[in-house]
Amino acid sequence: MTIDAATVRKVAKLAHIRESEDRLDSLAAELNGIMQWIEQLNEVDTDGVEPMASAVALTLPLREDVVSAGGDSAEILANAPGARNGFFVVPKVVE
């Protein structure tokens, strides 16, 4: 599996990162280098091995379904690039 410029363009789009056209080839080369190194995982026999998603074998705890935070919109909005009247100001989403 090799990564070409078109693949980088598609993945960058999925990741919401703009990459200029003249960077795509060098990025593809870098990512190929990394992915080729990763391919050695195929040498490992993993038939019947349970995937390991967490470092600890804990079941996730449940808590009471109650409101534990809130009522602090001023604090939450304090870091917003745009805020007005207790709301985030964001670019127009629906034309």
């Binding site: 990394i34 190194w37 870091n79």
Partner: protein, 493 residues
Amino acid sequence: MSDVSALTGLTLKDALAGLAERRFSSEEITRAHIGVVEAARPLNAFVLETPDLALEMARASDARRASGDAGPLEGAPIGVKDLFCTKGVRSTAGSRILGNFTPPYESTVTANLWRDGAVMLGKLNMDEFAMGSSNETSAFGPVVNPWRAEGSNRDLTPGGSSGGSAAAVAADLVLGATATDTGGSIRQPASLTGTVGIKPTYGRCSRWGVVAFASSLDQAGPIARTVEDAAILLRSMSGHDPKDSTSLPGDVPDFAAFVGRSPKGLRIGVPKEYRANGMPPEIEALWAQGVAWLKDAGCEVVEVSLPHTKYALPAYYIIAPAEASSNLARYDGMRYGLRVDGSSLNEVYEETRAAGFGDEVKRRILIGTYVLSAGYYDAYYLKAQKVRRRIADDFDAAFAGVDALLTPTAPSAAFGLGENNADPVAMYLNDIFTVTVNLAGLPALSLPGGLDSQGLPLGLQLIGRALDEGTLFTIAGALEKAADFRAKPRRWW
């Protein structure tokens, strides 16, 4: 107490004793540290100095002590890696994308430290989002290692990602520092700066309020000047936190009580697979020296096998970027941090993230997005999770016969800034000895073992069973005594 220079360079333990005996106040020792922090700006270890806050916290500490209400870290000035959110104090994770983000909350780990009386000198530099092994991916520029090779003026890396923490501890700017470790980011910088760092068992320290990189691997821990100092700090940092669903329940042991005990009779494993890949002779020699020290201390040293060791880094470079690409999706320019305007919503997202993230972070987001994208999930992500299980099983098998493992921490001493940047994979190989334990969730500690022929520190790593940091502190205490590492960087800054 008038001699200010006598108040820096103390161990945390001695500083706490001096404070308890009222030989000096927190305000005095904090003021002394503020002075050395300012004088050490050429190291670029701090991204934000907080001298006013430090003095305020120090005076409050002195008042608590006067009222008989002193905590275990009462009055001790420390540094905080900028990955920890600190209430009312800018927290950037070393990234432009967080801009001037000022958290309205405090991370659990730092809250625990302040609860126990510690004083914050400022926020420490780091690789962007903790992604790097040389501190060169920081938006604030690299930290410079206080150590230099003998007869050389070349700037060296302190390692990464906790490079600011390690450099600040090594240069005596702080009594200790918080750090985090996703693939080696506590232990590799500790090794490159002649300091002690421990990544505890996954879940020991709450991740709440720590900017997320790869959530199933991220774990906080301290960097300190001695094994006992690391034990003292880790005890305060640890503890169950209902706000982190992966936080471990149960009491936190008094880790410092394990330091100074005899390791006699313990069985130590030496993993034969770590010898592969043309290890430099000086690293090999230090490792053999470590084995000899442990034998002298009455330990039994045996060879063990961790057959999947060579697959740990490739598995990590699927799992960590996959988790990172998901975690870092939150940086969309809407609620906090940087926003770059554009003509549509998507353009705002794309331009913000293009301007806000550095090259290494983008590279990892792209890898993560790629391996999680339709058609590749099973081939890469699922495969890596299965290999991860194999690696964890290797450790389980080894720990059936031994109490701890001894390895080198890093494949080299500190290298030059700019020296390892051409090939991302070459940089990733810095974590070859450290990354396995993150995948398995085990505790591991690095301590200085000696100097190489250029006069640069080299570290030894101890790996323990889950939740058995105590045994690591016992063995590390014995190694520290045997190594008698007293070298300090010559002050050039």
